[in-house]
Amino acid sequence: MMTRPGFTSDQCLKCNICTAACPVAAVTDLFPGPKAVGPQAERFRHPELPMPDESVSYCSGCGTCTRVCPHGVAVAETNIQAKARLVEEKHAPLRDQFLSRPDLLGMFLSPVAPLANVMLNATSVRWVLDKTIGISPGAALPPFTRVSLRKREAARCMKQPPDPKPGKRRVAYFHGCSTNYYEPELGQQAIAVLERLGCQVILPPQVCCGLPLQSNGLFDAAREKGRKNVSGLLPFAEQGIPIVGTSSSCMLELKHEYHAVLGLEGDDLAIVSHLCYDMFEFLLLELNDALRHVHLTPINASALYHPPCQLRNHGVGMPALGILRRIPGLNVQLSDAMCCGVAGTYGAKSEKYDIARAVGKGLFDQLKASGVDFVISDTETCRWWIEKHTGLRVVHPIEVLAGAMGLGEFRVKSGGY
């Protein structure tokens, strides 16, 4: 993860630490493990000959392998690139073309949200989707919002950084597709928290981060998104304005994967990437003093915090955990599990669903046995997936913090999803 792209496979000592940590290898024998399909198989792949192996397609892209590797082998990046080669040779199925474009889905279906949501939740419709294009009935497809975040916060949408207001620190918020089309309230809470802590929040020009396209092997399209985002965010980065996001998967894409997986390069990208932050990383690094001066009202409940794989891969630890533990009355346990299983679009696919579910089983069981009131996780696909499989409410840490800061009502229990 914290490595340069390109050739690192020869650093592999074959120690199998990655295999022992891999959440997918733990539950299925269709996947030989990240080392086997990564640095090991790479030695036998030739750039001019067809890919000799397919089992790498079971890699979920969670990135655990790279993170635990003691030798700096970019195992996950190698595997993601191998998967993309397979896609190039065999072409992505229609389903993957859909699943990898949440921005388009949002753009077309959000205006007809009520109808779209009813349809997507209808058992019959899901059965058809399963049998035709291979979206599993178990997939957690969230409801669309009618009014996107950008529409709600139109006044903040700007192409160029505004002049700073006196005493305020400018911050650009990268919301991503999920906040824009599915969870705009979350975005508004994030904005409210930042403003309360002395920031002037702008919504810069942005398109889908491109991670779903990348995960599904559609690298050219993903690179297009990358270039567009870099050019949209550059005017802000050039003025030293931090780019903060609530989706740890989007932000990892911007911070790291544009370069390490997609191979995008250049000073513009470097400037933008370096100024990207996970929300709680930013709070801890830059707004900690302001935060310590804010009164936090008690939330008397117990919760379990599940740090998503992508968040761990940021390499900044679990900043939300420390901050949430400051809230009086709130008992926050740390999840035992490595990965919840969904891995972005992986868990939505009919042929991968059972594996994804098996990966997450340990977490689901832990949650059911724990008796916690709710669950906290930073990535949207993890939240929707855990909620679907446990019936517990799963929230982003910013929602909890906003509630404790009095910036909105934080309901501990809800009707579930």
Binding site: L13, K14, F44, R45, L49
Partner: protein, 518 residues
């Protein structure tokens, strides 16, 4: 089997000797070959893997170049399975003599070496890790040749045709009758008895040991020993063979061989045929020369180093420098040296082994009363359906899920060697040593250098072979790997060595086991 009576005795189990035995079999000449150690123990097993296009010698040794070009085509036809069709590039860099490439191209044309100039854009698209410092680039028909596969195929064919190959049989003396050499006495490895071989003609194809063999008939041969060191990089950084377009020098060949990339080589005059010493300057020089072609090379992992001794012909003009000696082969009939019946063959390249054999047997045919034509240009070594080796082949085999309930049971994960492959070899040969398994199957040749497969393989040997040592040969196997790692013991390779120690000394406490005469 204390006495053998044949027409031809071949001494030496390298490519030359095996080629001779095979050609003899095809001509119907009864033959026995004796090899003191193992197949490819000598020079044939310790080279850089290059199937020469001939391009390297067009200026410095045009005879050799012509032979290589012709044999290149023949070997591709008869032994494609031992060859990867990588192609080769000759690259002139900014610092190289500007007039050499055109001169070289003319030399190729004259020697019958196919060569084609290509654009820099094409060459960089093909090999993205190459330096941009290239001025001219040419494509040739180099290939990567696996000498073990070749020698094993020869062995199989010879045996099938009724020839005899005696491994581990060391020549104790040449038999002389009235000043003629009429065979040899060899030592059997298992019981120490002597086998007496009667042969009408004896060919000394003992490579670097040829002088010692000739001495047994009181003959001096003009043999010069040039030791060459090679370094294997842990992974293929290029998929095409790279040559510098300048007069041949040290370290100017990079060969992708199987899953590694070999940097070669040096040329150091030595006295001992078995000299395998490696000096730090040799390794550093090879890496520096490689870096001139692949700038990122210093960041990459050097896996191991080894050395082999070339048996070169030193013509009477007597040079100390072995680099300048002709690479073309020489056939000496010692009838004029008071040892009629003995022929010595040495020099040449592995790529021209077949030609060396053909010429030697043509010379001997009359004396042996044989007028069969040479068939080695036409008879395939691997069967009629054979095709080139390709890099992905082993992985494709492992990934075959036609039997979904069967796991591949990989013993060597780095080189994808299965338990079934090992059992097959153990069955066939009654093999005792892990080293034989290593040569045949490439166990322990990958990045872990025996760290994992050593344990598994030794245990399989220990439980399968009746007289196996208690450690299954584990310690000496690991020691052999250790030896090859030492010259490049820094960076990841030193870490690998530390890892091996951690597992076998710390976790397994193998150091007290019996069987380690390491």
């Amino acid at each position: 089997m204390q006495n053998l009576d044949v027409d031809l005795l071949v001494i030496g189990g390298g490519a030359t000797g095996m080629g001779l035995a095979w050609d003899a079999c095809l001509r119907g000449i009864p033959v026995v070959l004796v090899e003191a150690q193992n197949l490819a123990e000598g020079t044939s097993g310790r080279y850089h893997g290059l199937l020469h296009s001939g391009g390297r010698y067009v200026i410095s040794d045009p005879v050799s170049a012509r032979d290589c070009a012709a044999e290149n085509a023949v070997l591709r036809r008869i032994a494609p399975e031992a060859i990867e069709d990588t192609g080769g590039l000759f690259l002139a860099l900014n610092d190289d003599p500007e007039d050499y490439p055109d001169q070289w191209l003319r030399g190729c044309h004259e020697a019958g070496v196919p060569a084609r100039e290509i654009s820099l854009r094409e060459v960089l698209a093909r090999e993205p890790l190459l330096t941009h410092d290239i001025t001219r680039a040419f494509e040739v028909q180099d290939g990567a040749l696996d000498s073990f596969d070749l020698l094993h195929a020869l062995h199989l064919n010879i045996t099938r045709l009724g020839g005899m190959v005696l491994l581990g049989h060391r020549v104790q003396a040449l038999r002389r009758e009235h000043g003629h050499v009429v065979g040899a006495e060899v030592l059997r490895p298992d019981d120490g008895t002597i086998v007496t071989i009667h042969a009408r003609r004896t060919v000394n194809a003992a490579g670097p040991w040829a002088a010692q063999v000739a001495q047994m008939a009181d003959v001096d041969i003009p043999l010069a020993l040039g030791k060459g060191t090679m370094v294997a990089m842990a992974e293929r950084l290029v998929h095409t063979i790279l040559n510098r377009c300048r007069l041949p020098g040290d370290g100017d060949i990079l060969v992708p061989v199987g899953t590694v990339m070999v940097l070669g080589t040096t040329d150091v005059p030595v006295e001992e045929p078995g000299d395998r010493s490696i000096e730090p300057w040799e390794v550093d020089m090879l890496l520096a020369e490689g870096a001139a072609l692949i700038p990122s090379l210093p960041d990459r992992r050097a896996l191991r180093a080894w050395a082999g001794v070339r048996p070169l012909y030193r013509p009477p003009s007597d040079e100390d420098e072995t680099r300048e000696l002709p690479r073309s082969h020489v056939i000496l009939d010692h009838a004029g040296d008071g040892a009629a019946g003995l022929i010595s063959v040495f020099g040449g390249k592995l790529s021209t082994f077949r030609l060396m054999a053909e010429e030697t047997l043509d010379h001997l045919a009359l004396a042996l009363g044989n007028n069969q034509p040479c068939l080695t240009t036409e008879v395939p070594l691997f069967g009629d359906e054979a095709s080139y080796y390709t890099l992905p082949s082993r992985l494709r085999t492992i990934e075959d899920r036609s039997d979904p309930d069967k796991s591949p049971e990989l013993v060597c994960e780095c080189e994808l060697v299965r338990r079934a492959d090992i059992e097959r070899v153990l069955e066939r040969r009654g093999v005792q040593e892990l080293d034989t398994l290593r040569r045949e199957l490439r166990i322990g040749m990958g990045p872990c250098q025996g760290g994992f497969c050593g344990y598994r393989t030794a245990a399989i040997v220990q439980e399968t072979i009746l007289d196996a040592p208690p450690d299954g040969g584990l310690l000496s196997f690991l020691q052999a790997r250790w030896r090859g790692n030492r010259p490049v013991a820094w960076g990841q390779t030193l870490r690998q060595m530390a890892f091996t120690r951690r597992v076998y000394m710390d976790l397994f406490h193998a150091q007290d086991m019996d069987g380690g005469d390491a």
